[in-house]
């Protein structure tokens, strides 16, 4: 039963070998000439004034919350789509009922300006 996943396992291993090998060769043959100025983070020639690891706009978090809701919805659509023609009108109606609360949620978010950047 798991036999069909052999290819996935093989390609994951091969992918790691390819990517890791390229990185490894570079780390081996690349030159190393370090000095303090070169190691500084690039800031258009200036010394870094503020640390990048601080708080950022709340919009990014709001998109992440929206994503969770709609990604779960998308995942629910997948198996439904694959058996849709067997389910017939009942399946279509059920999915319509399922989508209404989400659509209301999206419209609410839209009205509140959660989708504005």
């Amino acid at each position: 039963m798991l036999a069909e996943y052999t290819g996935v396992l093989v390609i994951l291993v091969v992918g790691m070998v390819i990517a890791g090998g390229m990185l490894g060769i570079h780390l081996l043959i690349g030159p190393r000439r370090r000095f303090a100025e070169k190691q500084q983070p690039f800031e258009c020639g200036e010394t870094q004034i503020v640390s990048p690891r601080r708080r950022y706009a709340v919009k990014f978090y709001m998109v992440a919350i929206l994503f969770v809701v709609f990604d779960v919805e998308a995942i629910f659509f997948y198996p439904w789509g694959a058996v849709f023609q067997e389910l017939g009108w009942f399946g279509l109606g059920a999915m319509f009922v399922f989508t209404i609360p989400l659509a209301v949620g999206l419209i609410y978010e839209w009205m509140k300006g959660g989708l504005e950047w």
Partner: protein, 380 residues
């Protein structure tokens, strides 16, 4: 089993990653040169032989390999090293489920030309593709650089938004073909259907020739809107121009991979081009019939050839024809992406986000329900 899977997987990797991916970097340079009326890459030579600039990809690899590996001060060294791998490994792994040929019979053995024929193939590509988003965000965060952080943040919101839309735009195709398995999807497209057949219940009369128009049963004819939306969403997911705001070199220098040098940068670069091939292969498989030759089904091809040669040879020839057809479609889709990349200017961030949430998301949900209504109406 293990040997068979390994051979199949290695074949697709050798063709796609080792063979085509370097050529695409050359195609991109040459096509941009053509569109901007210049000559393009033609300098790299071995003993005076330049082969139209085809040696440039090799020169790139040598150059990236021999560059110094600079890790900025204050960076998280472990994450900085891991993130190129998190981006590159999923990009390579996605090829496992792409079918590059159908199912062929030699006596009593069957040959199924796909690396791993898993029944949720498309979901596998989306799942493994979304892991690459972590790599991008981690690269932006771990570099300890303000521009990288901005690029990583932009990438995080853009990638997760388009992941949702990309998933919803193809649901219509599942409903038509009733499967998530990519090899079944390609097989279902190896036939033709009456383009105006859905009007039969509406008019129910003989329309002379227009009623009999037959087109290949490709996803693009069932789901034209779905095709456009899927291509938009998946190109945005790859962060290519015109959706390249996470990189945005004129505003945030190079975005999330600003502090990367040598092969660490090379892996980001490589996986971007590998993803172009995956997009092309996936679009070709879902919407353009995969390996199927339009109007010539597998049985027709094998039957036609076996009239002159024996069946084994005819099957081999058929595999070759199918594989060439698939590669032709892949190259056509690569060309479309390059054309878009050099035609459109970069969008603003608010435009990209509102395209996703305000246009593509409602449209794709509407597309699902319209597809459902039409399908059930035609079935009666």
């Amino acid at each position: 089993m293990l040997i068979e899977a390994t051979v199949k997987v290695l074949f697709i990797l050798v063709v796609m990653v080792v063979g085509i991916a370097p050529v695409i970097t050359w195609i991109e340079r040459k096509q941009s040169a053509l569109m901007q009326d210049r000559i393009g890459a033609n300098r790299a030579d071995v003993g005076g032989i330049t082969v139209l600039g085809l040696l440039h990809p090799a020169a790139d690899v040598i150059k990236l390999m021999t560059k110094e590996d600079v890790v900025p001060e204050g960076a998280n060294r472990v994450m900085h090293l891991l993130s190129p791998l998190i981006v590159a490994v999923p990009a390579i792994s996605a090829f496992a489920v792409i079918p590059y040929g159908g199912v062929y019979r030699f006596g009593d053995t069957t040959l199924n030309l796909v690396g791993a024929d898993i029944d949720w193939g498309l979901l596998y590509i989306f799942a493994i593709g979304s892991i690459a988003a972590y790599g991008t965000v981690i690269a932006g965060w771990s570099s300890n650089n303000n521009w990288s952080m901005l690029g990583g943040l932009r990438a995080s919101a853009q990638l997760i938004s388009y992941e949702v839309t990309m998933g919803l735009t193809v649901v219509g195709v599942f409903m038509v073909f009733e499967t998530l398995r990519l090899s079944d999807m390609a097989l279902a497209q190896d036939t033709t259907f009456r383009l105006f057949g859905f009007l039969d219940r509406f008019f129910g009369l003989d329309w002379r020739w227009i009623d009999q128009v037959r087109v290949p049963a490709w996803g693009i004819f069932y789901q034209p809107l779905g095709f456009l939306m899927f291509l938009t969403a998946i190109m945005a997911e790859n962060k290519r121009p015109p959706f390249d705001i996470p990189e945005g070199e004129s505003e945030i220098i190079a975005g999330y991979h600003l502090e990367y040098s040598g092969m660490r940068f090379g892996l980001f670069f490589m996986s971007e081009f590998i993803e172009i091939i995956i997009i092309a292969a996936l679009t070709a498989t879902i919407f353009l019939g995969g390996w199927a030759v339009p109007y010539l089904s597998t049985d027709t091809i094998i039957g036609g050839i076996s009239r002159f040669f024996d069946v084994g040879f005819a099957t081999c020839l058929c595999i070759l024809i199918h594989f060439s057809t698939f590669m032709l479609k892949v190259f056509a889709m690569i060309w479309v992406q390059m054309l878009l990349r050099w035609s459109l200017p970069r969008f603003r961030y608010d435009q990209v986000m509102s395209l996703c949430w305000k246009i593509l998301l409602p449209l794709s949900i509407a597309n699902i329900f319209v597809t459902g209504l039409v399908l059930l109406w035609v079935k009666g």
